[in-house]
Symmetry: C2
Subunit: 426 residues, 2 copies
């Protein structure tokens, strides 16, 4: 393997990327306090961490979105994004099926929604409207009855109006102005004023992620562990350096620990991308974050596009942009990636907001095992079987023989007692 690539992968794919013992201990302490003191603990930590002393609950039923002051152009953008995201996610709704596996043995699969789900929308420097869309829309399509949103207060001690607007539009049923570990504590443990949920979704900082892991170890379902965001780009000499530079920058502006990797077969491309990158950077608002994220930017030249694909499948990036000739030939060989962006006119930002796909994706190499969030993550598979007398007669020997081999003779009895009765026994 290419030496700098080996180093890159070894560094970014350390075995326990998301686990931090000290953080875990700190989070445990807060979670246990919430479990003991409920709302009092929530108020305590909200005051300490967010300087917030107000009421958590927003009354969704009396909220009039027309008074939120969201601009018409932003409303249009939210509505259009929602439309595309709905179109894509509706296709994910599982149809279920029935099959007679052998004569008289009917087996059915159907999916039912998870009743009460919690979605965490991070605060921070900007309102994450898109996070609301990407979590609440699939929850609604799945049929979840109760969709609970928690999000920390902004500096103005409130929830951003556009975030509120998106939440109401997408069918969120409860909203709490609550963030950090304390929000995950409320969702996973429940308090006097916030009922616990069945599953917790959404991104967050290291504290929030560790709190979700804590909850997960205690049997509360979570979506997937989230680490720093990443993009890998595969490009050949047909790619436009300015496009690549803009893609690298859109990843880098997310956070100082954002990971960016460019794999190319064209050594000359790298210098051109670097030049474009530094030029663009000067014009960007978040250049200080980008400046720091540059230390996580890696450029590697490989012999062939096939090699690029091999390494990408090993690295398993959250986002993958493929910008080369015969692009679909290579795209079809990718098995480990969260979301793939094909061709020169498909920047990652379209998937982040509005193409229709979900932007909640596996990071830190987890694309080897986890996929993008989808409607079925808000549902669960229920199996049904129904046998006729003849069906039971047909399968009896198989079941009895296996039950006997496993030493479970009541299992055998449950079959035999039914067959020993006359067929019209009721």
């Amino acid at each position: 393997m290419h030496p700098s690539l080996t180093e890159f992968i070894t560094t970014t794919r350390a075995s326990n990327p998301l686990f931090n013992g000290d953080l875990y201990a700190m989070v445990s302490e807060i979670m246990e306090d919430i479990s003991r003191r409920g709302d009092a603990a929530l108020r305590h930590y909200s005051k300490i961490f967010d300087g917030f002393d107000g009421s958590f609950a927003i009354d969704v039923s009396t909220l009039d979105v027309s008074f939120l002051g969201v601009t018409a152009s932003l409303v249009d953008a939210i509505l259009k994004a929602k439309e595309n995201i709905e179109k894509f996610h509706r296709e994910q709704l599982p149809a279920g099926f029935s099959i007679e596996t052998q004569s008289g043995v009917l087996c059915v699969e159907r999916f039912t929604p998870i009743e009460r789900v919690g979605i965490y929308v991070p605060g921070g420097t900007a309102p994450l409207i898109s996070t609301v869309l990407m979590l609440a829309i699939p929850a609604k399509i799945a049929g979840c009855k109760e969709i609970v949103m928690v999000t920390p207060p902004s500096k103005q001690n409130q929830i951003n109006p556009a975030v509120l607007y998106a939440a109401v539009l997408c069918g969120v049923t409860e909203i709490y102005c609550l963030g950090g570990v304390q929000a995950i504590g409320a969702l996973s443990l429940g308090t006097e004023s916030i009922r616990k949920v069945d599953k917790i979704f959404g991104p967050g900082n290291a504290y929030v992620t560790m709190a979700k892991q804590w909850a997960s170890a205690r049997g509360i379902a979570i979506d997937l562990p989230a680490g720093p965001s990443e993009v890998a780009i595969i490009a050949d000499n047909t790619a436009c350096p300015e496009f690549l530079a803009a893609d690298l920058l859109s990843q880098a502006e997310h956070s100082v620990d954002a990971q960016t990797l460019l794999l190319t077969t064209d050594e000359a491309l790298i210098e051109k991308v670097r030049n474009a990158l530094y030029q663009f950077m000067q014009t960007l608002k978040r250049r200080q974050i980008i400046q720091k994220a540059l230390s996580n930017m890696t450029f590697v030249v490989l012999d062939s596009l096939e090699d690029c694909i091999t390494y990408v499948n090993y690295y398993a990036p959250e986002h993958l942009i493929i910008n080369c000739r015969n692009v679909w030939d290579y795209a079809d060989k990718v098995v480990n990636a969260g979301s793939i962006f094909i061709g020169e006119f498909t920047p990652e930002s379209v998937g982040d907001y509005a193409s229709g796909t979900n932007h909640t994706l596996p990071t830190s190499g987890m694309a080897r095992t986890y996929g993008a969030l989808g409607v079925t993550d808000f549902m669960k598979r229920v199996q049904i079987q129904s046998l006729s007398y003849t069906g039971l007669l047909n399968i009896a020997e198989t079941v009895s023989c296996l039950a006997e081999a496993e030493g479970l003779d009541a299992h055998k009895l449950a079959v035999e007692v039914r067959l020993s009765k006359p067929q019209n026994n009721s």
Copy 2:
């Protein structure tokens, strides 16, 4: 709510059913030792816990199943069960889809197999042939390239021949004679002789479950946390008491902590079931286990079958048997249950072995959020999007407006730089 039912649910659905701090500390110590010392630690714990000092690896390529001495009738039963399980699970293979969410914006979903999976097959009093079938068959259908089975040595210091036979038949590619925490350690951390896997599946005792939770908190994917097995039965006065007694006994013989609940609208039924139960019990091999499990057996009389369904949805049982008139009317109202058995001729044992459905199911109330194991649990969703120049033009304003609202101007730049170039820029 009915008082004894309230007590039953409160007791069996305590908030942290699967978490035990002392056990966690003990498991952590072993896992950390395996992480440091690799194979030497595996040998150490295998000797202590299983009295096993042999070689872990079984060479699958040279294993001749015809010499294993599995009886012809057991081979037939395994083959028939495999056929039904394959038929049901093949229906779960996701087809994927493509959709143009708006003109020029193509979005694709496809599922790819997880490359290397580990399956844990418990040892104990009997060979769990069915566990091999229920884990390896969906893995194979999903297309997993490497299927690694670990299972503890029997008292004869080897793997049971029928378990080996089923493993080879179902396409397991690596087999290790290794159990308990040390087996989960090998699969999740990797050692000199056993490479780590991408995801760990399979049931086990409290130690194995806690080791899986430990791995899960560190970002290694697991199937679902498993607690003691459970059945809930709904019956009216049309149900045959002997059938119900046999069903309760087949659950009770699993383990001393197995949970059994009978909900009925017919008070007279309970005495009849009890009588049948004590009569049958005398004839069963595992009556000592059953005797102890009887303390977890609860009978409740409710006013209506609708009430039974309400409580079942709250309790969320692993297995649910519905044995009453108009049975499908009630079955359709169940939303929280792992596997449902409909009508008088459908004992749970058919699903445990051979109807075709999976017997790996959520326990401890997790059927509220988790479903039965299926083929998609051995795969992950990959999203693809590809935009034409026109597609990008059509979506540009939506993306730019949302990126601006979120303060991410490089995201906007990535769209604009592409549109600012003449269309045939390459």
